[in-house]
Amino acid sequence: MIPSPALHLRGTAEVGGMPVFENIALNAEGGEWTCILGSSGVGKSTILKLFAGIDDEIRLNGTVEAADGPLAGRVALMAQDDMLLPWLSVRENALLGARLRGSKPDRDRLENVLVRVGLADMADRRPRELSGGQRQRVALARVLMENRLIVLLDEPFSALDARTRAQMQELTAALLLGRTVILVTHDPAEAARLGHRILIMYRNGIVEFPVPSGPVPRACDARDVLTAQAELLTRLREDDAWQGRNILEPTQ
């Protein structure tokens, strides 16, 4: 297998003339999970859009690239909304990419992927017949069918209940092993479990946070993970205080 490339983003971005972030330098190592935390509106999703190439409304003064060549056609995306098409079955949803490109769907690979995400016996169901966790597993199957070396995750687990979320984190970490993953999340616990690197993003820069010991995915109850999680939360709240925000007072 070709090694997954490192990703680099540097520069200043504007949306509709309004600055989103300034002088950011983000480096994601190839084949690792890079988790990005930060308060809302700081531009985390903008970063993913730039890497995904869905950047029509973003003006980037800088560069966005993979270490070994262009990004286009090498990225897969998974978000909080599962983006499943309600009129297609689980199987057809997982094959959407091949359909949209007009390429021959790889049926053997599909059956294999459905087994790995645990949906083999639900392949003919429609999304409305599935639970939230099952729907996210279809979205994961769709990512695996795309078979891209770069995977962008935009809070994919945030709408799930705690137990399902922990399961999905482990499954996703196992199945995306070896790919370059950027995970945008609001959840310090998630970053502490899944990140090979953890970055906290501010409007004017990115700060690296030391990761807990142990291989990914780390156990939820490991002492290191819990400590890192608590420290991350404290740091994020300091950021809120620094921005003059107080949740006890109504925001403007």
């Binding site: 995904a52 190439g53 990225v75 897969a76 098409l85 959407l96 949209l100 490109r101 007009g102 409305r128």
Partner: protein, 244 residues
């Protein structure tokens, strides 16, 4: 089931009021025939009504089919091409400012007294609602789906076929539901202007001979047909689009 019962109760109420007005005012039956007389006329003139109804039904169904196809093609073309939108949309809106009724004599002149002018009348009366509701739905595709399709490297035509059109089918269905009610109006107007067959023609004929009961009978046959057509299309749409 409750809706069905409510419909029946409403019909009974309407017919009762109608009968009470006839009894209460004592108007002559060539002005306002009572429901009992109209019911008897429907029965005794059933062969005549059926013969003319067949013609109108054919006009409506052909007009509806052609209008649906033409409307669907136009909506997809408009949604796919900004140039088509810029050129054609103002024309479409302008065409709505022309009363369709005013076109009927012209259509008869161009297409003759037969089926074609009525079919065309039904077609133009439903073209705009079908096109417009399908087009609106095509332009409202979930932007997340379109972004996903872009990341996947999907071609424009395939994204249209696999995502935008299926996602917009409920909009197309609501256009067709409107069309089911409008198309008979178009056909009847066409028949009024110039025809020798059809329920519209029969109504004019009956009216001219002071056979008001026959006119009412034709009207009721037309109304029942329209309601059945609307219900059939609604039911079909509901079954085919139950995922949405």
């Amino acid at each position: 089931m409750a809706a069905w019962k409510a419909g029946l109760a409403s019909a009974v109420l309407g017919i009762s009021v109608w009968q009470l007005v006839v009894w209460g005012t004592g108007v002559p039956r060539f002005i306002l025939p009572g429901p009992d007389l109209v019911a008897r006329t429907i029965w005794t003139s059933r062969a005549l009504l059926a013969e003319h109804a067949m013609i109108t039904v054919a006009e409506v169904l052909i007009g509806l089919g052609l209008g649906a196809i033409l409307g669907a093609v136009s909506a997809v073309a408009l949604a796919a091409s900004p140039l088509a939108r810029a050129l054609v949309r103002p024309m479409l809106v302008f065409s709505q400012a022309i009363p369709v009724f005013a076109l009927a004599p012209l259509l008869t002149l161009w297409l003759g007294y037969g089926l074609a002018s009525k079919v065309f009348m039904a077609l133009i009366i439903i073209y705009f609602p079908v096109t417009s509701s399908f087009f609106d739905a095509l332009m409202r595709t979930n932007p997340d789906w379109l972004r996903l399709a872009r990341v996947m490297g999907g071609g424009r035509a395939r994204v249209m076929w696999h995502i935008r059109i299926p996602a917009a089918l409920p909009g197309f269905a609501s256009g067709l539901r409107l069309a089911a009610v409008y198309a008979p109006i178009g056909a009847i107007i066409g028949e009024w202007v110039g025809a020798s067959k059809g329920l519209g023609y029969l109504m004019l004929l009956a009216n001219g001979r002071a056979k008001t009961d026959l006119m009412f009978a034709a009207l009721i046959v037309l109304a029942v047909f329209t309601i059945l057509l609307h219900a059939t299309i609604s039911e079909l749409a509901k079954r085919l689009l139950e995922d949405r």
